[in-house]
Symmetry: C2
Subunit: 252 residues, 2 copies
């Protein structure tokens, strides 16, 4: 594969940096973080500003992400096949299971949430479409990792709770168990008191392109033995199959 266009790759790095960091960044901070000369960074940032991908706070001079990105992001949702096919099945799943439903896909070894249906009750919930979840500590993420072709080493496995799978060996075992069973779960591995169940979504050719899952309080998601309830597992797997069928895949 021939070389990349340098300036575009650098511009993307700047945007990722701004998205990841604590919001606003100064020009020199950007230049230092990417190991670029001041002048070069300035040129890149200024054209990013011209196209609306970056805004500058006039008082502090610092830079932040721009409004044009918001529209591009939602435009992506409109085109995304995985999301559009899932929508019809996510709502029934939320209704049947009584829990929140999320659909995610792998992006740079993280889980990108592309759709989110709130838990049917009226509790206050924040929409996390567009959020990135840690793959090793969520049911969605582990399912996606299990079927990921590029089985390279995982990133650093930060432990969120005592039950997080923080060692590569434990994670690899869990992934092969998921491949065996065709679904996966996480029990208080990301936040205490929360559990989740997920199953893979296959696209054209049987390739896994995403995952659908529910998550909620551990006492509702799991039975008396601390295992995910069979009825919920069935619901999730059926939803995953339905979406896969819609996508033209073989559906598990």
């Amino acid at each position: 594969m021939p070389g990349q266009v340098q300036s575009i790759a650098r511009a993307a790095a700047i945007l990722r940096l701004l998205a990841g960091g604590s919001g606003r960044l100064g020009l020199l901070e950007i230049a230092r973080a990417l190991d670029l000369p001041k002048g070069t960074a300035h040129g890149l940032v200024r054209t990013l500003q011209d196209v609306g991908f970056v805004e500058q706070d006039k008082t502090s001079g610092k830079y932040q992400l721009g409004a044009a990105l918001l529209h591009l992001g939602t435009s992506y949702l409109d085109v995304n096949e995985l999301r559009s096919r899932s929508i019809n099945w996510a709502d029934p799943l939320a209704a049947r299971s009584g829990e929140a439903v999320r659909i995610g896909t792998l992006l740079d070894s993280e889980v990108l949430v592309v759709h989110h249906v709130f838990r049917p009750d009226d509790t206050l919930q924040t929409l996390d479409v567009g959020a990135l979840l840690p793959p090793h500590a969520t049911a969605l993420g582990k399912v996606l990792l299990a079927y990921e072709a590029r089985g390279g080493g995982f990133g650093e496995l930060v432990p969120y709770t005592r039950r997080t799978l923080a060692s590569p060996r434990a994670l690899a075992r869990a992934l092969s168990a998921i491949r065996e069973a065709g679904w996966g779960s996480d029990i208080e591995e990301m936040t205490v008191g929360e559990a989740g169940i997920a199953a893979p979504i296959r696209g054209y050719g049987g390739l896994v392109v995403g995952a659908i899952g529910i998550s909620g309080p551990v006492e509702r998601v799991c039975d008396a033995h601390g295992q995910p309830r069979v009825t919920l597992v069935t619901h999730v797997r059926e939803a995953a199959r339905a979406v896969s069928r819609d996508l033209g895949g073989r559906g598990q």
Copy 2:
């Protein structure tokens, strides 16, 4: 201001094209639309693909927006000062008025919705955060236009309904009336049966940085004379002032 970085400007144009068009586009369509040689367009698109801003449908070969943009877009929401300050005031406004609340800002002569609170009833509504609204046919848009520094000519004023302000003269009159009154409305100018009320949000230095408004069925938003209800107008203007105060502006 010295020249732009050509390749970044072109890359941004490609992304805008993909966002605006009907989703997927072929390489030649992109090249033709931007008047670029095939090879050049390919290089740009390929690096956009490498950084995740563009995806390629393997079967058709066509290109579409990529997943990385979704995360960038929502990251923008997290940083956006206008949105974060508005959130606390949008919910009460929705509750008091009983209508849907939206907060918008001007982007490229269009209205970008940065926050959206559903109407309190349980009707089915779609979240339009990230959507672009026509400025001349919505209360939010007309308020933003009225206080826009760069008072250049408006784009083409497409008529949506019979009551849309489609002539530059009528629109200019409406805008100066808004400046006079400090708030604006639209009555069946975008969709029949719908009306809206909006007021400007001022940031540091008194500059208008956004607008907040409600919208709903014309029979609820307007009184017997077909005019916006005074109580609703007051609620909207108070909310706008509150947000402005939070932003450090003078609040009207």
